[in-house]
Symmetry: C2
Subunit: 399 residues, 2 copies
Amino acid sequence: MNRWNGLSPGELALLDTVFWSTGLSRDALARRSAFSKTRANAVVAGLLERGLLEENGLQSSSGGRRAETLRLHRGLGVLLAADLGATGLRVGVLTPDMQVLARHVESADVRKGPEFVLARVRALLRQLLEQAGRSTHDVIGIGMGVPGPVNFESGQLVNPPLMPEWDGFSIRDDLKADFAAPLFVDNDVNIMALGELWRLQRSLHNFLVIKVGTGIGCGIVCQGQVYRGATGSAGDVGHICVDPSGPRCHCGNLGCVEAMAAGPAIALMARAAVQAGESALLAETLASTGTIRPEDVARASRAGDAAANAIVQRAGGLIGQMLASAVNFFNPSHIFFGGSMMRIGPLFLASLRQSIYQRSLALSTRQLEIQISPLGEQSGLIGAAVLAMQETLRMKGAA
Amino acid sequence: MNRWNGLSPGELALLDTVFWSTGLSRDALARRSAFSKTRANAVVAGLLERGLLEENGLQSSSGGRRAETLRLHRGLGVLLAADLGATGLRVGVLTPDMQVLARHVESADVRKGPEFVLARVRALLRQLLEQAGRSTHDVIGIGMGVPGPVNFESGQLVNPPLMPEWDGFSIRDDLKADFAAPLFVDNDVNIMALGELWRLQRSLHNFLVIKVGTGIGCGIVCQGQVYRGATGSAGDVGHICVDPSGPRCHCGNLGCVEAMAAGPAIALMARAAVQAGESALLAETLASTGTIRPEDVARASRAGDAAANAIVQRAGGLIGQMLASAVNFFNPSHIFFGGSMMRIGPLFLASLRQSIYQRSLALSTRQLEIQISPLGEQSGLIGAAVLAMQETLRMKGAA
């Protein structure tokens, strides 16, 4: 794309600033960039002319006149985003300023292996592109989140406990034939953290994003950046021990919080409650559907079933116990919760909160805020698109 | 000091690079700085002339000729460093390139309060200055580590559990009358981490430094910087719960690792072993001295006493259990151990190692190195001086 050619580092930095501060006025942008106001205006004029930026309409300003805001030019193309969970996938087509043009959610089983799952992702992305009135030539970058540890450089999964069939598989090679645009893969919780960081316009520097679904994972934002650790496995909190005499986890250890409090453990506790005759509601579910899924426990809890509520509180208490250690260690300013288990409702969040505050050092929790991720179940999709746009800008800088 | 006047940001950045890469040749320095070789040589020439840098003699080079190395000029003045532990203090006078000119170690009790302890620190620093042939006018910066949470901006302690008398006390104001140089205060474990980071010339980016003494603390280096957390309490791992039915800690919670495995807990376990008739050696110590100190257990363990060894292994196992959580969460490349309890010997380190590897996810430990801090008990003193020099350079930049 010609409009990218010969950009200076200063121009690229300004594009990056616009991307990370959507809705910012020109004046605010100049203040946030390394340039003087005059110089920033000149650079912006050049970028508008080249079709890299466009005006976003007027923003009501605190003073008299109304300030124009800027965004990355939608004519640059579109981003494809895919957020793979252990049991579901979410795909979308987004503009460079994170407007969702088309999206789709469906259940999926990552254990069916990469060929099967990626064939479906590929087909859905093509459908969504068509639905958005775009072609594969319009795609400037692809971002994908997967529920396992990822080598960020190679885009390969490394020993993923929930999806062993994917070990060492190159998603990048698999999708190369379909889309010419570069593909970036990261852990599902890291992209949720990236999505929240974008939503926050980088205004918070040290926070955690916790996903509670089939597994339990943690995205870490440290000093304004997503932190991946020495070998890419930072935030792998699902296998922290909360009870040395607890059940054996698929990782081989005993009493991992994931084995005791994530979706499958919640369903197991519900079966035990039925066997103990503690819940007529859950027994009815088991009788009529032949199984109890985590979402059945969630529904029972919202309906006020005492056994379901006890299960929810136990799971929240165990996850909170694990997070209290993370809070003492990391001293985050915020914890944002996401993932399918958060649909359980306010009782789950209350149990998590209570357990974290009870076990953390007062100094670490004095200003700690704990809430549901404001992007909700979109955080992974948005984050995957942010990853694609961020890395695409970085590549333009390196080119 | 005139030689500091009117430095450009580029010159200050180069001074910083020299400080963080002691023993670097001019060629290597140019490669590590943002300058071309010619430009770097010109800047270095200017800094040599101004008396900010000096040549360090010759370094054997891999090629034929020998390369000159550079260091901050020793004529700039000296740094004062103080490393306060709960039961001991270590003070020193150092050159800008971290050569120790004079130092002193003695036992101390921080619970005697700030006036008492700081009067002693003040007297010792004056003595050491004299011993090094310097005066208070030669002091360019003072660094101090304290065993509690510190508000880094104000230099005040915030709710320190081991030294409640110091809460809100301004060490900076207290020492202002004695030394004109700026004083910087940080947590004792953060300065140990800073010392190791300096020793490593920033070659590692994500590692932990664990101090095991009267308390247990953790210094975190994240993305090449000491990480202090949202409110300065990051690394406060001593109050992570390792046994919900454990004894009550001075923080109010049950089963904190500090209450179960730090120095005082080790001494308590030894008393229990004597009462149970498990150790003739420890019984003898108690009979002859009227008490059992942690160092007595260390000595008994090194002498092969079975009860002492069991205590050491239990303490190491509990601390390792806590650190396994930190490893799963943070995925560091290295863990360095320091603090007085490390004098116990190899059995303690072996127990720590075994427990960490056993409970951490394989992916996090595949490349994890666990060792005694190479700077040993000097790491805090060096770190305090690094803090002083680093912040002094930063102030020159801001001036």
